[in-house]
Amino acid sequence: MTVPLYHVLILAATLFSLGLACVVAWRANVIMMLIGIEIMLNAVMLTFVGGSAQWGIADGQLFALMLMALTSAEVSLALAMVVYLHRRKRSVNTDDFDSMNG
């Protein structure tokens, strides 16, 4: 592999910021927000794997795997909540759920 690490990192950063932009911009749709979070998590995984390749040890890949496990847990709960909230308010717009204001 001849790609320098920082190219990998820049790719990861770009992916991450795309995910962030998705989360920030798609306030009207909670599912798109969750998709943005997935993108960000993938960017993080890419960083881990890149690091693992740089130093030749398995730990980075391992954390990528754990991240995947955690993400699946998170997504299943988050989607269950989306279903629950949609059932209550017939809406997926996050701005509709503002009852916990100060």
Binding site: L20, V23, R27, M33, T94, G102
Partner: protein, 625 residues
């Protein structure tokens, strides 16, 4: 001896404890009985102690303060001075307690009253029996505290509460000086024991003794109502009459004289101090007598007479005649208690009217009170062969014998005061008891109250027997006090003494005559008429106690109030409160402003969170560049 002394103190203390803790639950008769029994038990102990007394004795009851080299055990000292005072206090206070039972028969808050009276007796006994200065100070403050509560006993009336506060604050000025003196003595000698300190007098430099003596004098001024700290005593009349009797006769005001007499071996070495004491006493005696001339309130007349008589005692101490001063103190206690209790009877009979110009005719309706009161007035005036005559005369003789221009001058002032005393005493008697215009109300309690006066009248009249002059066989007290350091006064020849007494008796009789001419018989009606008109400037001057109250108001209270006002409005409210208020308001405003950020919208939170992260990241990148 130990058991007598401890019981003497414990009886009143227990009485006070029982009355204050359970007084409201117990039946009234029981509380009254306990209170009286406590004091009489204390008197019996004092009497038994006197019977078994052989030599000065020091009794230690237990440890109290002991830290490093500061030792102040609960130790009592019994010597002729404290013994004679203890017996007198037990007796007079016992009578006053019995009297109070009848006088306060309609008072609902009797438990508090008797608890305080008992505590008062306890504090005074502690004061006189204390062997070390901290214990004495405990009694000293206890007396001040009880007097404060008792003067303001009817505290719902603001005037009474103010009088109590005035007494407390004024005596506090003196107390401060006393504390400084005690601390100074400890710093100098490392000891607080009175006997040790008195024995160490010769070790201390003269200037230091003068300083300490003057501080003690200021302490005594506050407690004994001497010029210039005497303003509280006339106002202390706001309390119930038995309390006035107690303060004036047996407890409280005599404490200052006692302190000086007690510490005399220490401070007597300084001529400056004795002169200062004597001048204070002389000026106070004259001040009190002159003010008493113009007073209209019966109790205020007696209050000023007390100031004047205490002045005499201070004169005696200043002249180095501890025996004479103590003698006068004892006799004065008897006849002043008598006068106050008699005044209580009169006031009670006159429906709580205290203006002597509105009284009259009580001679026929209250004969017993009249005769006893007359005996008291005769003692006060120093008519020949009464107790007051002998005691006052012994002070005058001591002054005369002391010699020197200052003491001769004070002697003349004291003679003038004696004349005034005789005059105002009988002015009071004539106005209260002669004439016709009274409509007294004789009730059952009054009849009982009168009987209490009889033993006091007898003691007052025959109190002279305690210490007869040498030519009549010599005095008991002289011999008793002879071993007390500073007790033995200079001896006068019989002829000289007779001459001095002759002068004093002539002056007393002259005062009586003057009072008779001005207030007796038909002249009385004339004076009553005049009293309704506006008074002359001199009368007003005397009536208001030389305007000392106003002077203090102008030079002390007004600036203090102004300062307090500034501190209150500017400092407390302006700076401290306002700054806190503003801080609180600012925090509240910023809190609600920040609270506005919690919109409840996840999008805002996420954006803030991401922006914060981006900022940190940007900062790190900027550092790298």
């Amino acid at each position: 001896m130990k058991i007598y002394l401890s019981l003497m103190l414990l009886f009143p203390l227990f009485g006070a404890a029982i009355s204050s803790l359970f007084g409201r639950k117990l039946p009234r008769r029981l509380v009254e009985t306990i209170a009286c029994a406590a004091v009489w038990g204390s008197f019996v102990c004092a009497f038994l102690a006197a019977c078994t007394y052989r030599a000065p004795e020091k009794v230690t009851l237990g440890d109290w303060l002991s830290a490093f080299d500061l030792l102040a055990p609960l130790s009592l000292y019994l010597d002729p001075l404290s013994l004679s005072l203890a017996v007198m206090i037990g007796f007079v206070c016992g009578l006053i307690h019995v009297y109070s039972v009848f006088y306060m028969a309609k008072e609902l808050d009797y438990a508090r009253f008797f608890a305080l009276l008992n505590l008062f007796v306890f504090a005074m006994l502690t004061l006189i029996l204390a062997e070390n200065l901290p214990l004495l100070y405990l009694g000293w403050e206890g007396v001040g505290f009880c007097s404060y509560l008792l003067i303001g006993f009817w505290y719902t009336d603001k005037r009474n509460a103010d009088a109590g506060r005035k007494a407390f604050i004024t005596t506090r000025v003196g107390d401060t000086a006393l504390v400084i003196a005690v601390a100074w003595l400890f710093q100098l000698t490392g000891s607080l024991s009175i006997t040790q300190l008195n024995g160490m007098a010769f070790l201390l430099p003269g200037g230091v003794i003068t300083g300490i003596g003057l501080l003690l004098l200021v302490g005594a001024m506050g407690k004994s109502a001497q010029v210039p700290l005497m303003v509280w005593l006339p106002d202390a009349m706001a309390g119930p009459t038995p309390v006035s009797a107690m303060i004036h006769a047996a407890t409280m005001v005599t404490a200052g004289v006692y302190l000086l007499a007690r510490m005399f071996p220490l401070i007597g070495g300084s001529a400056t101090v004795t002169a200062a004491v004597a001048v204070t006493g002389g000026v106070t005696a004259f001040y009190g007598a002159s003010c008493a001339l113009a007073q209209r309130d019966l109790k205020r007349v007696l209050a000023f007479s007390t100031i004047s008589q205490i002045g005499y005692m201070m004169l005696g101490v200043g002249a180095g005649a501890i025996t004479a001063a103590t003698f006068h103190l004892l006799v004065h206690a008897f006849f002043k208690a008598l006068l106050f209790l008699g005044a209580g009877c009169v006031i009670s009979a006159m429906h709580h009217e205290q203006d002597i110009f509105k009284m009259g005719g009580l001679r026929r309706t209250l004969p017993l009170t009249f005769w006893c009161y007359l005996a008291g007035a005769a003692c006060l005036a120093g008519l020949p062969f009464t107790g007051g005559f002998f005691s006052k005369d012994s002070i005058l003789a001591a002054l005369w014998l002391k010699g020197g221009g200052l003491y001769r001058g004070l002697y003349l002032l004291a003679l003038l005061t004696a004349l005034l005393t005789a005059f105002y005493s009988f002015r009071m008697v004539y106005l209260v008891f002669c004439g016709e215009n009274g409509r007294p109300h004789v009730h059952a309690e009054l009849k009982a109250m009168q009987w209490v006066l009889i033993p006091l009248a007898l003691l007052g009249l025959f109190g002279g027997l305690l210490n007869l002059p040498d030519y009549l066989g010599g005095g008991f007290l002289n011999g008793f006090f002879a071993r007390l350091s500073g007790g033995a006064a200079a001896e006068a020849s019989h002829l000289e003494e007779l001459a001095l007494q002759g002068v004093a008796s002539v002056l007393a009789l002259a005062g009586l005559l003057a009072a008779h001419l001005r207030y007796g018989g038909k002249a009385r009606a004339q004076r009553l008429k005049e009293s309704a008109l506006s008074s002359s400037a001199l009368t007003m001057f005397l009536l208001n106690g030389w305007y000392f109250d106003r002077l203090y108001h102008a030079i002390l209270i007004r600036p203090y109030q102004a300062l307090s006002g500034v501190l209150w409005r500017r400092m407390d409210e302006g700076v401290i409160d306002d700054s806190l208020d503003r801080l609180a308001a600012g925090l509240g405003a910023s809190g609600s402003w920040l609270g506005g950020w919690t919109t409840g919208r996840i999008s805002v939170y996420i954006f803030s969170f991401a922006a914060g992260g981006a900022l940190i990241l940007g900062y790190l990148a900027w550092l790298t560049l």
